[in-house]
Symmetry: C2
Subunit: 369 residues, 2 copies
Amino acid sequence: MIEDKIRDVVKQFKPYVPGKSKEEIVRKYGINPEEIIKLGSNENPWGPSPKIKEEILKEVPKLHQYPEPVSPELLEELSKFLDVPKENIIVGGDGADEIIDTIMRTFIDEGDEVIIPIPTFTQYAISTKIYGANIRWAKFDKERDFQLDVDSVLSNINERTKVIFLCTPNNPTGNIIDKKDVEKIINSTDALVVIDHAYIEYSKKEYDLTKWALKYDNVLVLRTFSKVFGLAGQRIGYGITNEKIINYMMRVKPVFSLTRLSQICAITALRDREFFERCVRDGIKSREMLYEGLKKFKDIRVYPSEANYLLVELKTMISKEFCEELLKRGVIVRDCSSFDGLGDNYVRISIGTFEENERFLKILEEIIK
Amino acid sequence: MIEDKIRDVVKQFKPYVPGKSKEEIVRKYGINPEEIIKLGSNENPWGPSPKIKEEILKEVPKLHQYPEPVSPELLEELSKFLDVPKENIIVGGDGADEIIDTIMRTFIDEGDEVIIPIPTFTQYAISTKIYGANIRWAKFDKERDFQLDVDSVLSNINERTKVIFLCTPNNPTGNIIDKKDVEKIINSTDALVVIDHAYIEYSKKEYDLTKWALKYDNVLVLRTFSKVFGLAGQRIGYGITNEKIINYMMRVKPVFSLTRLSQICAITALRDREFFERCVRDGIKSREMLYEGLKKFKDIRVYPSEANYLLVELKTMISKEFCEELLKRGVIVRDCSSFDGLGDNYVRISIGTFEENERFLKILEEIIK
């Protein structure tokens, strides 16, 4: 029997149900795709740089050739963008997920431990389980506006700890982890501390911890092209860490996972700094507009955010019902009940264009007060 | 010390050195890229369908949105192409490598065993080691024109065997494994037998074993868009197997690894059946032309092939030296010394366009007799 050959850990996994795509909503509810407002996946509503069209056409005649693992131009542009040497950067072809996966295959033997404060990005736990490590849960404290409970991390550190994930700004809560707390954790362990900065462009400039990847021996900073760069569809993520770790990770990273067209998209996005700056500026404006708009509803509580989404607590409805009502009206937001440690009355709402925000806030009046 | 946290198995890996890309040769030897003849990576020299340009432009405005894990259109087209139900197909975003990797994470616990007859595609062994399994080597027998030594596979099967890799046509030797031998192996074990059909389009039609994925409980057939479909740069691979195995694999497969543009490329390639058929026909012609051309040199022995490459044994030179001489003249072929079980006097030569073949055979006269 082939089932006898499947790993027990896989049998325990729930079948994966991905978030809703526009395409799916169009099929299910027969809504005109132009009218759908997608506020569910923390994307950049203004899309990618308009310069991409021209650049990808030049690459098409080469699509039959394997890509370079990472093109020197892409590394060069990233190095300039980050002000970090090329030797400290690793780029992945399945977004930050691939970097997380590569961390696992570099550090994790069966039975090792990984510390994950929750609620947070769910991929850390999925990847940890796949590689046979044990998760020690820590927490972002609901009672204190989801501030990180530092002691819940520190008290879980031991000899078998291999990796600690710190998402900041944290997904889905939107708040950042205090610099001093991050530092305290780094100094309390030899394990790799992963600082996930997927949303850092939307935070205050002085908070950016990217350079800590060079300052400390055991820090890796995760970043991505899926958010402000508007390239979630092309799956490009990257990590910054010291050269020793990069060299080990490169031995086990999927070699050719970064497609030719993804590389061109990333290079073009990095070179169009003007578009990037505008998306950062407008993204923050959009978040403020949404925050003010949501605050007026008394049936919900909205948390402040340093990212491109807002966590909302529902006082009168459960999240499943709320999301379904919005879906019927063509609005996709994220039901947070699938985040460990949150419960069934939270949703996450990503920024839209200014016009989408307005329409959304109006639609919301049909559902809550 | 962070080094203490790295897995031993990773420390034993050699740093990865990828094959040479055109871009690299241009940089290193200052050769005009138009003049380089790339016969090193088993690509389709005629590139991808010319219809791709138009189709990918339509997708650019959506690149900021996460892709669907796999679009229904792509599954539909694949199902038609293969004459296999959609429920039996899994598609990966890092070529067949991702399917191999997903097989590992579905079946392998540390200490399990994988059987790999060599010389063969090197990715099987790399993936096996990453997941902590032990490799039992079997062999394609050099003394019998690289026919599979079936007993070397059968005698290695035991209770801990989880996966057996059978590459047919085999890379880099080009020959196929006899149907009866494949069947004998399938019937001798409960382990998953992976039939790697990356090059099957170049083989005789009556050999195709794809449907065996439905006939047997423990067979997965691997296929790819990187070869005759001319899309190696976009990293799309797929597997065909029974629904039970698909459902387990989907639980641990990277969810969004297939980029939006890759999905469009694959759909368009499948719809342009005329271009596909021509690439198959011309590919086989090109292989025959190369085979006849190479047979005239007495310093080498060329093996017959059912794929889009030819294995060549060098009688008077070692492969490193031979490849270097070709590189200086702008020709990339594959030095096979990195294939376990082959030694240092074999090279693999992929098909070129007819014009590239001619130029290559002329250049070859400068190097061997």
